[in-house]
């Protein structure tokens, strides 16, 4: 005879406030097989867990149902508690009466009725549960980091320092990411390159770190501990081993008018190029779409001047396949296109810049050697206007619904940098709200306004018109209720940021999900902020959500710590909720193998299908495909789910 114990949690007032827990206990105690039912304020607290443990030993429970918060919160907690008392942890089921009952229904009577139904369904399921035992799988003690920005570099360095091999895959020709493009960093104003380049060099020189730049993830197979990843190393047309980085090739390259990606298009580069002077690796690539040799077959000057003979026009894309135990996705961000924001005259005037373009301009290593000039005439501007929230907090199809988070602070930084160089330039900022939470952040913003005399105007710009050599701005000062028709020499737009274009596909390849804005989704917004939904895949940086450098670095180190925690293990427990064939029923028809995404089903015995438990992830596609019911899924068997359906429909 089954003896099932039901434990109803109050979760303080979170559940009890809306569900009559005493009534749930009363009603569930009459259900067949329920040996005991109790309620307690906090089942997840040690005292609550002790109640479960004691009840298992005292009443000889064969199954446990905890009616509490979502299983995503505490299923593991209660399973461990049962295990400690000698009950197989898979004999525990959770009835989710908080997230899916007390929090979403206001009427106590009907919410209580639903809570009883959910508990009854869980009891019905436990009746059909069988003890399950996790298997073991090995761990490949190497990590993959996708993205070579500051997040990727930091994660790689931390993992490598712990003694594990790391491979960084970066799409552009150099690691460094967006941080390499920045001038100074807020709120300390230390030089971005000065703090980044040593890390880049460290990563390049580290024995445990391999860097593949100009490379992309091609294909991913496997699962936590055992990912097999194919990496496409795009043809660089330059032999990495022979190249000395002397620069003769790009000095001679006749194609000199390709807009430089690194300098945000403010100046041009050659067809064979390294993105910037401190690039790692310091090996150029040939941009084949612009190279004369690739377009017409004539030229080849770079090969002529290259003394080590590193130029190789015949180089092909190379696919390498490596095994990894864990992955960090640090795919970073891009700024949004301003095509839909015609009112800011971005495409009409070279003097309207995005903030990232301005970073290059104010950078001493940038195209203007750090001089702030109008791109139209090279003159120093007398007044500069910043416009905030360009495309951020915008629910129309033009922009992004979220706050890009970094703009308020970098605008204050850029305003200070201007005032520092040219105190006589008028600087004004049109803002909706100024948001500066963070250590020393608000002080920094106030310094811009108080010490440097940056004018902050609460209001927005409606239209910018490029008239002759000045920009006419039509705006409103919300506090004075004043309309403003003003002229300015230069405009800097705080353009919204978005996940880089590869984020969605990359996440998809690792079976990890993205949200409606294509930011990668963390496993839990508060408690598991660096883990993805896929075991063994971790998140860092702006691919997961807008964040500044310190936050990015913190998240990268956190992800690295998670990776290290995984890689130090010799064996991983595998999910015992895998599919299995009933050999008496299976007639080997082969339908199940067609739908298995992991290739876990084989038919070697010639008589029945067999499932490789290490490969099976327990999705259940095969079970539904099997017409005879020979295939079934542990933990979610046909009979368990049928019992739940029956109980819930009562």
């Amino acid at each position: 005879m089954e003896k099932i114990g039901v434990f109803v949690c109050h979760c303080g007032s979170n559940i009890k406030g809306n569900v009559d827990t005493a009534a749930v206990v009363e009603q569930i105690s009459h259900v067949d097989g329920v040996a005991m039912a109790v309620e307690y304020p906090y089942m997840c607290a040690e005292a609550g867990q002790a109640m479960i443990r004691n009840a298992i030993t005292e009443h000889g429970l064969t199954g446990v149902v905890v009616a509490a918060c979502s299983p995503r919160m505490h299923e593991a907690t209660f399973r461990k508690a049962a295990e400690r008392a000698g009950l197989n942890s898979y004999m525990v089921e959770i009835a989710n009466i908080r997230e899916q009952c007390s929090w979403v229904h206001r009427d106590t009577v009907s919410a209580t009725k639903k809570a009883v139904a959910l508990a009854r369904a869980a009891v019905a399921k436990v009746h059909r549960n069988t003890p399950l035992h996790p298997g073991e799988s090995s761990v490949t003690k190497r990590a993959l980091v996708v993205g070579g920005g500051i997040a990727g570099i930091q994660a790689a360095l931390d993992i490598a320092e712990a003694g594990f091999e790391v491979t960084i895959v970066e799409t552009t020709p150099s690691i460094g990411g967006k941080m390499a493009q920045l001038d100074k960093t807020f709120p300390t104003l230390d030089c971005s390159a000065c703090i980044l380049t040593p890390k880049m060099v460290d990563a390049a020189g580290h024995d445990n770190i391999a860097i593949h730049t100009y490379s992309e993830i091609e294909k991913v197979e496997g699962f936590v501990g055992n990912f097999t990843v194919s990496i496409r190393k795009k043809a660089r047309s330059v032999d990495m081993d022979k190249c000395t980085g002397c620069g003769d090739c790009w000095a001679k390259c006749p194609v000199k008018r390709v807009p430089s990606e690194f300098d945000s298009g403010l100046c041009n580069r050659t067809a064979i190029y390294t993105p910037f002077a401190q690039a790692v690796p310091n090996v150029p690539v040939i941009d084949r779409t612009n190279c004369v040799k690739f377009k017409t077959g004539r030229c080849g000057l770079c090969r002529t001047v290259c003394q080590p003979g590193a130029i190789d026009f015949d180089q092909q894309d190379e696919i390498i396949t490596e095994n990894f135990g864990a992955v960090v996705l640090a795919t970073g961000y891009d700024t949004i296109s301003l095509d839909k924001f015609g009112e800011y005259a971005y495409h009409d005037s070279p003097d309207v810049l995005t903030a990232l373009e301005f970073e290059r301009m104010t950078n001493a290593a940038g195209p203007t050697d750090g001089r702030i000039v109008r791109m139209s005439d090279g003159h120093k501007p007398k007044s500069i206007t910043f416009i905030q929230c360009v495309g951020s907090r915008d629910i129309t199809n033009r922009g992004k619904t979220y706050c890009s988070k970094i703009c308020c602070m970098y605008t204050a930084k850029q305003a200070i940098l201007i005032k520092d160089k040219y105190p006589d330039v008028d600087v004004q900022v049109f803002y909706i709200d100024v948001r500066t939470p963070g250590k020393n952040f608000d002080e920094f913003y106030r310094r811009a306004a108080e010490e440097y005399g940056v004018k902050y105007i609460k209001g927005q710009v409606g239209k910018v018109v490029n008239v002759g050599d000045t920009l006419h701005i039509q705006a409103v000062d919300m506090l004075e209720g004043r309309h403003m028709d003003i002229q300015t020499d230069m405009i800097i737009l705080a353009t919204a940021i978005q996940p880089s274009a590869t984020a969605k596909t990359t996440a998809g390849m690792f079976s990890s999900s993205v949200d409606q804005n294509h930011f990668m989704t963390e496993a839990h917004p508060k408690l598991r902020p660096v883990e993805s939904h896929t075991a063994g895949v971790f998140l860092a940086g702006c691919g997961q959500g807008p964040k500044d450098i310190p936050e990015t670095v913190a998240q990268a180190s956190a992800a690295a710590a998670k990776v290290i925690g995984l890689l130090v293990k010799d064996k991983l427990m595998t999910n015992p909720c895998t599919a299995a064939t009933d050999e008496d029923l299976c007639n080997n028809c082969g339908l199940c193998g067609n739908v298995c995404p992991y290739g876990a089903i084989t038919y070697e015995s010639k008589l029945t299908a067999s499932v490789n438990n290490a490969l099976c992830q327990g999705c259940g596609a095969c079970v539904v495909t099997c017409p005879s019911g020979a295939m079934d899924l542990h933990g979610f068997t046909n009979r368990q789910l049928m019992a739940e359906v029956d109980a819930i429909c009562k």
Binding site: H105, K114, A121, G620, F636, L641, C649
Partner: protein, 152 residues
């Protein structure tokens, strides 16, 4: 305000990775939806056997929803592609046999779409209210026996 005393019985199969988490998010965000919706967790929407759906109807469910990750976002890479085909066929098949289309719903709800989950369920229950009690697929022996059991 509901004038009728019809209290529909709604079963929602939610995949563990997206829709169940989306339903949880509706909870943490305190977004209200009709109390008649009861969720059964499955690892993936592709774990939902047409038999479960028919069984739910047989046992007196007035509406059955199947929720999974958006196409392309399946935790198991391809599960919901099969779900989509299977459910489309089943849906048409039930319609062909004279069962109201609106009694069955397939919807993609991501882990970030708590609001979508609440709205989907609210709209679904509203549709079921308009359709009224499921009389065409329910096995009244079972449904009545079930009612007696709870009353006794």
């Amino acid at each position: 305000m509901q004038i009728t005393d019809f209290n529909p019985n709604i079963v929602a199969f939610c995949c563990n990775w997206c829709s169940y988490a989306g339903a949880d998010l509706a909870g943490t965000s305190r977004l209200q939806y009709p109390v008649q919706v009861r969720i059964i967790k499955v690892p993936c929407s592709c774990r939902v056997d047409p038999l479960f759906i028919l069984r739910a109807f047989q046992r007196g469910a007035d509406g059955v929803a199947v929720c999974g990750c958006h196409p392309g976002d399946c935790h198991y890479a391809t599960g919901n592609y099969y779900t989509r085909r299977r459910m489309a066929l089943l849906h048409n098949m039930l319609d062909f046999m004279g069962i109201e289309r609106d009694r069955m719903l397939l919807q993609w709800v991501s882990a970030a779409e708590g609001a979508k989950f609440a709205k989907t369920m609210t709209d679904f229950v509203e549709n079921i209210h308009m359709l009224g009690k499921n009389t065409r697929l329910a096995d009244w022996r079972v449904v009545n026996a079930g009612n007696n059991e709870t009353e006794s």
